[in-house]
Each structure stands twice: as structure tokens, then as C-alpha cells.
Symmetry: C2
Subunit: 211 residues, 2 copies
């Protein structure tokens, strides 16, 4: 293997084996790409960090962060913003097939990266879709913990009843409970109990409006 | 090129050149994969249709539809449901590198497919995040159309003022207007005018609660 262009430390091996592409530099706060961009290019962040985000009602909704070696495309419905001074190398997306045939590792890395972005998108959807159900469940747990005098709340009813108390389906409640366990808000010692693991976090969520 | 296993009509060429993998059949309504699945496999839908969805507060939120030749993975935070009798072929995700080295077209197809799913996710995020701003904008347009006696509404103020009337930022308003033009609700003959293209659709949106 001949390396015409050895990558900087921390960057993937395959990067040194691709043709140079187009190099561009961005200052902190500058946009690497914007929604409705015409030009469709695959880019690799060769230095710096960037954030992929969507404009929400009143705040930016972060889909993913990119570090050195991070891969994304310019033709997207998201904003890609340099968080610090950053450099990219990019290639027209139409060359993707040839790039991948040359270095299959590029495809693996790109699939991993877009999988991360998709995972960030699913988290945002859950945040937005579950906000009200989560607030109701948090209030219910806080009330029951007070009433039962313990942080390990005995669930008084079937899962269906708990779901209907929160105004949702059994399936959604189950997704929501998994998510609250994963983020450390609650623990689930057994099927009939929920333990409050982060009381302050749970109170913050309970205070969200129900509207 | 030797083809050991010619694909059915409509299926991609590269499919006939991969090893057999694991074949599975699903009835309509059966789950091809569920959230929190341990097994991580890449699958191709060889017949039938499937829906990738997330459980929302009170309804299923569709991320994408898959048809014959559609590609996805089993280890995901979404449900994948057969919409009709369906067959899949699958391979452990750990074999992905070898699969891609054999057939780079597989990577191109997989990147295209996951890009579609990501696009569906971004649409859902916009639906959820913009619901209230969109309702305010729709009410504003309907009121102004009535006041001005025309469906081509003259925008009385700067974009900043319009954004602030809708309770949002200039950036979000711009994303929202692009989206409403794309979905055929409004047209934008020039920067100072918005034309109501789908009055009934706009009224539906305006009726959403502001809460």
C-alpha cells in the first residue's frame, strides 16, 4: 500500500489513501453546510469539532456532534456548524461508489456515523413526543413516593392501568420506562416496583406543563 | 461474474451475489425486529412491505416504509413491522465489512436507505417541534387573507417581526416556510408575499391547540 498523504494522528487510516478532495477551513460558529444546499458532497472533518442541528421552535435541536474523522454530507435538512476552528476535506457524493470500492472502511465509518445521527434524531423524537407522558409519570411517582413514604414505589395496578393513568399506551409506557432507566432517573428492581434514582431530575420533568 | 442465486425480479443485482444468509418469514402485523433486541443483523426485505416506527404518546410515529430490496438492521430503537406477508434474508452485522468489500453496491444501497430513515426522522422532529409555531402562522395567514381580501397575503413587516409574531426565530420561520411550500400549503411568489395554496389544509393546522 502506498500512502501519498498520511493522516494526522487520531484520523482514520483510510483517509490517507483517498485523493486529496477539496480542503476548506471554517471559523468557530461558521456553517459547514446548511439546509437546502444544492451541492451534494461527502465530507470528513479532519480537525476541530462540529454540531449537526435542526432549528426548533425556540432553540437549536442537536442531532449529533462530529469530531476529527467524523463523516457527513452537505446535502441535508440540518445545519452543520463548526464549534471551533475546523478543517474539512470533501468529495462529490457522485464519487461515493468509487471511493467505497477503493476503501470499504469508509462505508463502515459512514454507516456508523449516520447511525449515530439517526440515534440522536430518535432521542429528539422521544424527547418531543414523550414530554407530556413523562411529566405525568414523574408527578405520579413523586406523589406515590410521598404517600407510600418510600423512594421505592410499589405500583398499585397493572401496566395497562399505569399506562392509562399517564394517558398513553402500554407500548409507549414500556419504551418510556426503558428510557428513564437508561438515563438514570429511575431504577426498576422488579416488575411491581419503580425506584426513584434521581429525585431532582424527576422533579424538573414533573414541572413541565401538561399543555 | 457467477450468480449462484439470481434475485427475484425487482430485487437488486448484488443480492444474488451474497451468500444465502438466514431466511425468515413474517405474517402481516408480525414484528421483524423490536427495540432493545440483542441480536444485531443487517437484513434485506426480499418480499412484502414493512414499516419502521416509534411508539409515540398515543400513536405510532412512522420513520420509513421498506419495500422489496429495502435494507435495515435489527439492533435499533425502532419497531420494524411486516405490513403484509414478508420474507427477509439477514446476516450478522459483524460480517458487514466482508459483505461490503464483496459488493460495494450494498453499502451505497444501505447508505441511501438509512438516509431515507433519517429524513423521515427529521420530518417527525419538525412535525413535533413546529406544531405550535405552524398553527400560529396558519392563523395569522388566514386572518390576514380575510383582512386584505385576497389569498396572496402581503407581509406587513420584516421577517424578524413575522417570526416574533409566531413566537419563534427568523431561522426557524425560514425552515418552516420552506417546509410549508414543499408540502403545498403555501406558495411564495416573492419575499413580501405568501399565497395560500391549500386553504383547507391550512385551516386544519390553524385549529391545533396552541398549548
Amino acid at each position: 500500500m502506498s500512502r501519498s498523504n498520511p493522516p494526522a494522528p487520531g484520523l482514520p487510516d483510510w483517509l490517507g489513501q483517498l485523493d486529496e478532495g477539496r480542503r476548506q477551513n471554517f471559523a468557530a460558529g461558521e456553517m459547514i453546510s446548511q439546509p437546502e444546499a444544492d451541492d451534494n458532497r461527502l465530507f470528513v472533518l479532519t480537525s476541530g469539532r462540529a454540531r449537526i442541528w435542526l432549528a426548533g421552535e425556540s432553540r437549536a435541536l442537536t442531532l449529533a456532534l462530529l469530531g476529527p474523522g467524523g463523516i457527513y454530507v452537505t446535502h441535508t435538512r440540518a445545519w452543520v456548524e463548526a464549534l471551533e476552528a475546523a478543517e474539512t476535506r470533501s468529495w462529490p457524493l457522485s464519487e461515493l461508489r468509487a471511493l467505497i470500492a477503493e476503501r470499504p472502511e469508509l462505508a463502515i465509518a459512514a454507516l456508523g456515523e449516520i447511525g449515530q445521527v439517526l440515534s440522536g434524531a430518535i432521542t429528539l423524537i422521544e424527547d418531543l413526543a414523550f414530554r407530556r407522558v413523562e411529566a405525568r409519570l414523574a408527578r405520579l411517582l413523586i406523589t406515590e413516593a410521598g404517600r407510600q413514604g418510600t423512594d421505592v414505589v410499589h405500583l398499585p395496578e397493572s401496566t395497562e392501568t399505569l399506562a392509562s393513568l399517564c394517558g398513553t399506551s402500554r407500548q409507549t409506557l414500556s419504551t418510556l420506562l426503558n428510557r428513564m432507566v437508561r438515563t438514570g432517573l429511575i431504577a426498576r428492581p422488579d416488575r411491581r416496583h419503580l425506584a426513584i434514582a434521581d429525585p431532582a431530575g424527576l422533579r424538573d420533568i414533573a414541572e413541565l406543563s401538561d399543555g
